[in-house]
C-alpha cells in the first residue's frame, strides 16, 4: 500500500507540473467564458428585423401592434432588472415590485392592478419606472441602456396593392424577401425580414367554420408567414401568439362568454407570476429550463470524453516513458508490477479528478458571476445543475470510464517501446471511442430507445451513454444494471491488463503479436 501511495504521489506531482495539464485545466473554462460573452454580444448584435403585415381582414392589426409593444416592454423590463441589480446599493437589493412610488403612480396612469410588463410596454410607464428605479440605486450609476424594438413593422412598398390576392402580394414581395430589393424606411434602405399576409377570408371566422371545412375536406385560406430565415423563431412565435390570442378572444365573444370573466380568470393565475415578472408572459421560460435539463447531459458527455481521453493519454505517455527509458527495471526492483500499476492508476485518476473538479468549480464560478446579467439562460443552467444529479453521476462515470480505458491504455503502453508504435494501436481505439461522440446528439431524442439501451450495455460505452441518458430517468434496471456491469467489466479489464502489463513492461524489441498477448493472458 505504501508503495502504491508513493508511486501515485509521484505520478500526480509530475503530471500536475506539465503544461498539458494546466492547458487542459484552463482551456475549457475559458471556452465557456468566451461562449457566454460571445452569446451576449450576438444577442446585442442581432439586427432590427423589419417586416410587413398585410391585414386584409382588419381583425389583427391592433393585436399585432400590442404584441410588438409588449415585446419591447419585455426587453425594457430585462434591461431594467439587469440595470437595477448591477448598480444596486450594497445591502439594499432593488425589488422592482416594491417600489411604492412607482406602483401608486402607475395605478393612476394605467388603471387598476397594472403589471410591471404592462408598465414597460407604454412609454409613459417606462419613463416612470426608470425614474423611480433611479432613486433606489447607486447615485453614480450610468444611465440605463435604452433597449430598442427588435421588430419594426414597415408599410408596404408603393407598387404593391394591399387589396390584391394574397398570392399576388406574396409574388410582388418576393424580390424584397429574397433581399434582391430593399425597402426604404425613413429614407434609409432596409432589408425585408418577413411578410405576414392575413387574407380577407380569415375575417370573422368561427370555430364552426373550421369544423365545417374539415368535414367537407376543403382547405381554408390561412395566415401566411413569408421569410427566408426560418431558423429565427422569435418573430413567427410572436405573430402566432398575437394572432391566436385575438382569435381566441373573438371565439369567446362569439360564444357569448363574458370576456371580463375570462380576463378575471386569467388574472387569477397572475399573483404567482407577480413574484417573478419574467415568467408572466409565456410558458416558454419553463420549457427552456426543461430543454436545458434535457440537453445538459450532452455537455457532460463531451466533458467526460475529453477528461477520460486526456487522462488516459497521460497514462499511456508515462508508461511508455518508463519503458523506453528503462526506468521500469529500477522501479520493479523496488515495487511489484501490480503496485506500480495501481500507483499509476490512482495517481493519474487523482490528476483527472483534480482537472474535473477544477472544471466544475470554475464553471460554477463563471456561471454565478454572470448570473446578475441579462442572460437568464445561465440562471436556468445553474438551477438545473443544482437540482439534478448530473454532477455526482459525472464523477462516478468518470472514475469507472477512466479505470476501464486506463486498462486498455496501460496494456498498450506496456507492450510498446515508443509513442510511434503506440499510434498503430491508437487508430482502432480512437475509432471505437468516437462512437459516443457521434451518438451523443441522438440519444437525448430517444433516451430510453433501442440504440441508447443497447449502447448502455456495451462496457466501452456505458459511462458515456448512461451519462447521456441521466436526464430521462432511465429504467431502474438499466441504472443499477449498468453500474454493476461497469464494476464487473472494469475489474475484468484491469485484471487482464495487469497480466499484459506484467509481461509486456519488461519486453523490449518489437511489440508482440496479438496471438502472443493472448498467450500471456492464458499463462500464469
Amino acid at each position: 500500500m505504501k508503495y502504491i501511495w508513493l508511486v501515485a504521489v509521484r505520478e500526480f506531482a509530475e503530471n500536475a507540473k506539465t503544461k498539458g495539464f494546466w492547458l487542459g485545466l484552463i482551456l475549457l473554462p475559458i471556452m465557456l467564458l468566451i461562449g457566454i460573452r460571445v452569446q451576449a454580444m450576438l444577442k446585442k448584435a442581432i439586427p432590427v428585423r423589419h417586416f410587413i403585415v398585410v391585414d386584409q381582414s382588419d381583425d389583427y392589426g391592433k393585436p399585432i401592434a400590442r404584441a410588438l409593444r409588449r415585446d419591447l416592454g419585455k426587453q425594457r423590463l430585462e434591461a431594467l432588472t439587469s440595470w437595477s441589480s448591477k448598480h444596486a446599493v450594497e445591502g439594499k437589493p432593488v425589488d422592482l415590485d416594491r417600489i411604492p412610488a412607482s406602483i401608486e403612480q402607475l395605478k393612476k396612469q394605467l388603471g387598476a392592478n397594472p403589471q410591471l410588463l404592462d408598465a414597460c410596454s407604454t412609454d409613459a410607464g417606462w419613463e416612470l419606472l426608470k425614474q423611480s428605479t433611479r432613486k433606489q440605486i447607486a447615485s453614480d450609476a450610468p444611465p440605463i441602456e435604452e433597449p430598442t424594438a427588435r421588430f419594426v413593422r414597415v408599410p408596404l412598398p408603393d407598387e404593391v396593392t394591399p387589396d390584391d390576392d394574397p398570392d399576388a402580394i406574396a409574388k410582388a414581395l418576393k424580390p424584397y424577401l429574397l433581399q434582391q430589393k430593399q425597402l426604404t424606411v425613413d429614407g434609409e434602405p432596409v432589408d425585408l425580414f418577413a411578410a405576414v399576409i392575413i387574407p380577407k377570408d380569415v375575417r370573422g371566422r368561427t370555430l364552426e367554420d373550421v369544423a365545417l371545412a374539415a368535414k367537407k375536406g376543403t382547405e381554408l385560406p390561412t395566415v401566411q408567414y413569408w421569410s427566408i430565415n426560418l431558423a429565427d423563431t422569435d418573430l413567427p412565435g410572436l405573430m402566432q401568439r398575437a394572432i391566436d390570442e385575438e382569435y381566441q378572444r373573438r371565439a369567446y365573444v362569439d360564444k357569448g362568454v363574458n370576456i371580463a370573466a375570462v380576463k378575471k380568470i386569467q388574472d387569477a393565475s397572475l399573483p404567482l407570476a407577480k413574484k417573478n415578472p419574467k415568467k408572466r408572459e409565456g410558458r416558454e421560460d419553463v420549457s427552456m429550463a426543461d430543454l436545458i435539463r434535457q440537453w445538459a447531459p450532452i455537455g457532460f458527455v463531451y466533458l467526460l470524453w475529453v477528461a477520460i481521453f486526456t487522462v488516459s493519454q497521460m497514462l499511456l505517455n508515462n508508461t511508455i516513458e518508463e519503458k523506453s527509458n528503462r526506468i521500469i527495471e529500477v522501479l520493479l526492483s523496488s515495487v511489484t508490477a501490480r503496485e506500480l500499476m495501481w500507483g499509476k492508476l490512482f495517481g493519474i485518476a487523482a490528476v483527472g479528478l483534480t482537472m474535473v473538479a477544477a472544471w466544475i468549480v470554475s464553471f460554477f464560478a463563471i456561471l454565478v458571476s454572470h448570473k446578475s446579467q441579462e442572460t437568464q439562460m445561465i440562471n436556468q443552467v445553474l438551477e438545473v445543475l443544482q437540482t439534478s444529479n448530473l454532477i455526482p453521476y459525472f464523477v462516478v462515470y468518470f472514475l469507472f470510464g477512466f479505470l476501464f480505458y486506463a486498462g486498455i491504455f496501460l496494456s498498450i503502453g506496456s507492450i510498446c517501446n515508443t509513442l510511434k508504435e503506440a499510434q498503430n494501436f491508437m487508430g482502432p481505439i480512437m475509432m471505437v471511442m468516437m462512437v459516443p461522440l457521434v451518438t451523443m446528439f441522438f440519444i437525448p431524442k430517444d433516451p430510453n430507445g433501442t440504440l441508447a439501451t443497447v449502447l448502455s450495455w456495451i462496457p466501452l460505452y456505458t459511462p458515456f451513454v448512461m451519462m447521456n441518458r441521466t436526464a430521462a430517468d432511465p429504467p431502474l434496471f438499466d441504472q443499477v444494471g449498468t453500474i454493476v456491469l461497469m464494476i464487473v467489466s472494469t475489474a475484468v479489464m484491469l485484471w487482464l491488463s495487469a497480466k499484459i502489463f506484467r509481461t509486456g513492461i519488461l519486453r523490449s524489441g518489437q511489440p508482440p503479436r496479438l496471438v502472443e498477448v493472448f498467450r500471456w493472458l492464458k499463462s500464469s
Binding site: 508513493l6 508511486v7 516513458e321 527495471e329 529500477v330
Partner: protein, 322 residues
C-alpha cells in the same frame, strides 16, 4: 547475519525452447565484491532480474539476504540496471529522493541523503537541474546514486561502467570500494575485465547461461595453463619438441588464437603452453639454441582478459556472429 548475502541454487530460466540461464548455482559471501562476468547474451541480465524477482526462474531457488524472495528484502537491495534511464523532467535530487523513498526512507531523510550524495560525488551544482539537461555521464552517476541512496546491504550493478569516461569509471570504482568498506555486498556484471580484475574479490564467469568458472581472481588465473608469449618472425616448430612445452599456438596481434580467426597474415605472435611446474627459462634457452630471434619474450601472469578469452572465447565469438 547470514554468511552469504546471495545464493542461487540450480537456477534455470527458459523462454520457450531457448534456455537463457542453465542450472546456475552461485554463492556470494557477505561483504564481498563479486564480479559477474560473461560475454554479451550469456544470461547475466536475466540472472540479475531473477535475483531481483523481476523474473521468475523456471527451475531452482534463490535466497537473497536470507529470504527466499527479493521482495521480502527489497528495501535492503540496491539495483542499477544495464540500460540506464531516468525520468527526463524530474530534478536530479528529486529522482534520487524518489527512489530512496521507494526503498523505505522517509521523505525528509531521502531528500537530505540525495543532496549529500550529489555533493560528495561532484554534482552539487546540478541538484536542481532536470535530468534531461545533464550529460550522459552525469545522468548515469545520478542513477547510481539513486540506486544506493538508501544504503542497501546488497548492491547489484549491471554493467555499471558502460558509457562512462575513464575518469568517471574510476569514480565508479571508488563508489564500489566505498560500499565494500562499509561491509556491503556488491555483485556487479561487466564484460570489461580490467575493472573486475582491479576490484573483485571473486568472480563468476558464465557463458551461454552456464557457469564456466567461479572463484577468486588468483584461482581464475590458475585455470589457465602456464605459458609464455613470444614474438618472432622465425619458425617456432622446434619449440614443440621440448618436454616442458604442451602446445604452441599462433596468436593474432589482439591476442586471439589464430585458428579462431580468419586472419591470413603470417603469424608472429605465439603462445607457448607449458606443463604445470615448468620454467619459462627452458623455452628461452631453446630459442637461443635454435636461433629463433625474439622480438619479445613475456612470462608475466595471464590477465583476467586472457582467462575470459580462454574460457569463453569460442562461445562469445559464436554469439557475436549469430
Amino acid at each position: 547475519m547470514t554468511a552469504s548475502a546471495l545464493t542461487l541454487d540450480r537456477v534455470t530460466k527458459r523462454y520457450g525452447d531457448f534456455t537463457a540461464v542453465d542450472d546456475l548455482s552461485l554463492e556470494v559471501p557477505t561483504g564481498s565484491i563479486y564480479g559477474f562476468l560473461g560475454p554479451n547474451g550469456s544470461g547475466k541480465t536475466t540472472s540479475i532480474r531473477m535475483i531481483l524477482e523481476i523474473l521468475k526462474p523456471t527451475k531452482g531457488s534463490i535466497t537473497v539476504l536470507g529470504k527466499p524472495s527479493a521482495l521480502d528484502v527489497r528495501d535492503r537491495i540496491g539495483y542499477l540496471p544495464e540500460e540506464k534511464g531516468l525520468y527526463k523532467k524530474m530534478k536530479a535530487w528529486s529522482i534520487i529522493a524518489y527512489f530512496a523513498a521507494l526503498k523505505g526512507l522517509d521523505k525528509k531523510t531521502a531528500k537530505t541523503r540525495a543532496f549529500e550524495l550529489l555533493e560528495r560525488y561532484g554534482l552539487k551544482g546540478f541538484a536542481e537541474s532536470r535530468t534531461e539537461a545533464l550529460s550522459k555521464g552525469m545522468q548515469q552517476k545520478v542513477q547510481v546514486l539513486a540506486s544506493i541512496a538508501h544504503e542497501p546491504e546488497l548492491v547489484i550493478l549491471d554493467e555499471p561502467f558502460s558509457g562512462l569516461d575513464p575518469v568517471n569509471q574510476e569514480v565508479m570504482e571508488e563508489v564500489i570500494r566505498d560500499m565494500a568498506a562499509a561491509n556491503r555486498t556488491i555483485l556487479f556484471s561487466t564484460h570489461v575485465m580490467q575493472h573486475a580484475e582491479r576490484i573483485c574479490d571473486r568472480i563468476v564467469l558464465i557463458s551461454k547461461g552456464r557457469r564456466v568458472f567461479d572463484g577468486t581472481i588468483a584461482e581464475a588465473k590458475r585455470a589457465l595453463p602456464r605459458r609464455v608469449r613470444i614474438e618472432t618472425e622465425d619458425d617456432v616448430a622446434a619449440l614443440r619438441d621440448l618436454p616442458v612445452v604442451k602446445d604452441v599456438i599462433g596468436l593474432t596481434v589482439d591476442g586471439m588464437p589464430v585458428e579462431m580467426t580468419a586472419a591470413t597474415e603470417p603469424v608472429t605472435h605465439w603462445e607457448v603452453d607449458l606443463t604445470d611446474d615448468a620454467d619459462g627459462q627452458a623455452v628461452l634457452e631453446a630459442c637461443f639454441k635454435n636461433g629463433i630471434k625474439l622480438a619479445q619474450f613475456d612470462q608475466s601472469d595471464p590477465s583476467l582478459h586472457d582467462v575470459f578469452v580462454h574460457l569463453v572465447g569460442p562461445d562469445a565469438k559464436e554469439a557475436a556472429v549469430r
